[in-house]
Symmetry: C2
Subunit: 162 residues, 2 copies
Amino acid sequence: MSADRSTPRADGGIRLLDTLLLISELFQQDMARYFRGSGLTSSRVSVLWVLQNRGPSTQQAVASALGTSARNVSGLVDALQADGFVDRHSHPDDRRAVLVELTPRSAAFMSRMQQEHDELDASLVAAVPPADSAAFQRGLRAVSDRLHELVADGEHHLTVEA
Amino acid sequence: MSADRSTPRADGGIRLLDTLLLISELFQQDMARYFRGSGLTSSRVSVLWVLQNRGPSTQQAVASALGTSARNVSGLVDALQADGFVDRHSHPDDRRAVLVELTPRSAAFMSRMQQEHDELDASLVAAVPPADSAAFQRGLRAVSDRLHELVADGEHHLTVEA
DNA sequence: TATTGTTATACTCTATAACTATA
DNA sequence: TATAGTTATAGAGTATAACAATA
């Protein structure tokens, strides 16, 4: 599902916002495409990233890291476990809890994914003319910060009440 | 579902890629949050954008514009119609086809949404230091183009085969 | 009483295939 | 025969609520 939310500009150029939305679409498409047939999805890989970043975690910890419900994590972990991406172990100190951790196979997978990210990052950085690089990075950071403020303020800018 | 896919950098800075991924997350969160309770979703609004950009359209045209199946569009249009966002009319020349169009209410809604986008765009543009503005826009365009190339080539950089 | 994870239920998005009506 | 849209079926994500076991 790719949506064109852009508005033609008077000068024929492309708006900053539209470029950012387009980049978001490209990321989503790229991820979805390469997960197909692997048993992975964007949501499932989110769980793997949490485990990669934090090590073995309870499902509650994963849920709170992802900002979703424990119920949802149950389902995602079920699927990941069935496909051999994670193991569930009993928590040593709390018999209610479960520790989820990457299997060796998916730990290796995540390492490769991190490496791919490094390569993509380098490729994108290299695409920017060196003379523009510093200003570009400052500008992008400023845009990201502004967006953070707007979202944190609860201001809605990508839509409006119907 | 917000996933942190970032890797700490040696110099403590934030990678370009991670900033772009973060911006994507912020967009998605912002959209999802403000659609809640409105009867709208990101996918449904995609349909409204197609109608806004192209005027009354057959469902096939919508499906092909969004890169999804006719079946999926049927469901989305059903939901939008039930909530009064679109009307279905018979096609004057082709009795198999249906013309979907915005209701007056959602045409007004889309106009406001476009205006909100304009304002958000202006706010983001204004966040960039004026001295960096030209270089920033060139750099972002270059990054977007590079990403397009990579995705078009079928190179996968956000993940890897499992 | 509070928390962890589960089952139960419901809604949404999406894909493929089969089918109807029309071209 | 091909196309537009539907019904049928299935899998995936996510939310809320109720519940069991444990803290």
